[in-house]
């Protein structure tokens, strides 16, 4: 069975269009087990209770930003092994370097293409 059928994924983004665009791209890839959250704190609570294989999180969110969510995930035993991809409109050195120190698996710049996102995900989880 291809990985795309079993992969469980959570998208965390506060903006509706952005979530819709990510969902569109993921479903084009054939990934169907997708959960969505609008903020980092709720995402963290959900992930602690129901871990997924991979989190795709926006960086720029009010309250808990993407890297704070990553940090919190890595500190919790039930979520520390979840794959983490940061989505950002500002992939500057400071953010990426902080992400790598916190255990970020990959990042993708916005706006992205479906092909770009697929390649980004496959570098973390393997061929879909």
């Amino acid at each position: 069975m291809p990985l795309r059928n079993t992969l469980t994924l959570m998208v965390v983004d506060d903006m509706t269009v952005s979530r819709g665009l990510v969902e569109q791209a993921l479903e084009e890839m054939g990934i169907q087990k997708i959960a969505f959250e609008k903020d980092g704190a709720t995402a963290l609570r959900r992930l602690v209770a129901n871990p997924v294989h991979l989190v795709l999180s926006d960086y720029n969110m009010p309250g808990m930003d993407g890297l704070s969510l990553l940090e919190a995930l890595r500190l919790n035993t039930s979520t520390q092994r979840i794959g983490f991809i940061l989505m950002t409109g500002r992939p500057d050195r400071e953010i990426i370097s902080r992400g790598h120190k916190l255990g970020m698996n990959n990042f993708i710049s916005k706006p992205f293409t479906t092909l770009g996102l697929k390649s980004c995900i496959e570098k973390v989880v393997g061929a879909l």
């Binding site: 469980t8 998208v11 903006m15 509706t16 269009v17 952005s18 979530r19 819709g20 665009l21 969902e23 569109q24 479903e27 169907q32 087990k33 997708i34 959960a35 969505f36 959250e37 609008k38 709720t42 959900r46 129901n50 960086y59 720029n60 950002t88 409109g89 500002r90 992939p91 500057d92 710049s109 916005k110 706006p111």
Partner: protein
């Protein structure tokens, strides 16, 4: 002949002042930019809902996952994700619409982020009052969530005037 636009509500005549202090205008620009950014955030919710509706109509999207989560919809406010496939005659049209919508919505999302960033930079400037000193690029970068906006704002080459020990610029 002067034709009035009858489409909108009639507005009271506005007596603009003869002059305005730059700091006051800057503060007004910051407030206006924030207003526009807020409108774009509202537009984001509406456009996102339209995208999701078009995708549902085209038959995209499978069953709700995970089944026991209740608030995991993209947007949440758009209502529950349909577990069925579209069956009406609008499906092919909606399917054709989605790729075009995606390209436009990527742009809309970028413009919304840039408007928010610009509003923050203007608020930063307005908050400094009459200060002539330079801002650090890091302060500007922290306000801008999009690289392209950062590059455009920070690209103009300009040097800060030398500062006196009290922070004021030295005018030669």
């Amino acid at each position: 002949m002067f034709v009035e636009d009858g489409a909108g509500p009639t507005e009271e005549p506005f007596d603009a002042p003869q002059e305005i202090a730059p700091a006051v205008l800057l503060a007004a620009c910051a407030a206006e930019a924030e207003r526009q950014a807020a409108d774009l955030r509202k537009l984001d919710a509406a456009l996102g809902a339209a995208l999701i509706a078009a995708r549902r109509q085209s038959g995209a999207g499978g069953g709700k996952w995970p089944p026991d989560w209740t608030a995991d919809e993209p947007g949440g406010e758009e209502g529950a994700k349909s577990s069925g496939r579209a069956t009406d005659g609008g499906a092919p049209e909606a399917a054709a619409l989605v790729p075009a919508l995606v390209a436009d919505l990527q742009l809309a999302d970028q413009i919304r982020q840039e408007a928010e960033g610009l509003a923050k930079v203007l608020a930063l400037l307005a908050g400094r009052g009459d200060s002539d000193g330079c801002l650090s690029a890091a302060q500007v970068r922290a306000c801008t969530p999009v690289s392209a906006l950062q590059r455009r704002l920070l690209a103009p080459v300009g040097t800060c005037p030398p500062q006196r020990r009290d922070g004021a610029a030295i005018i030669s």
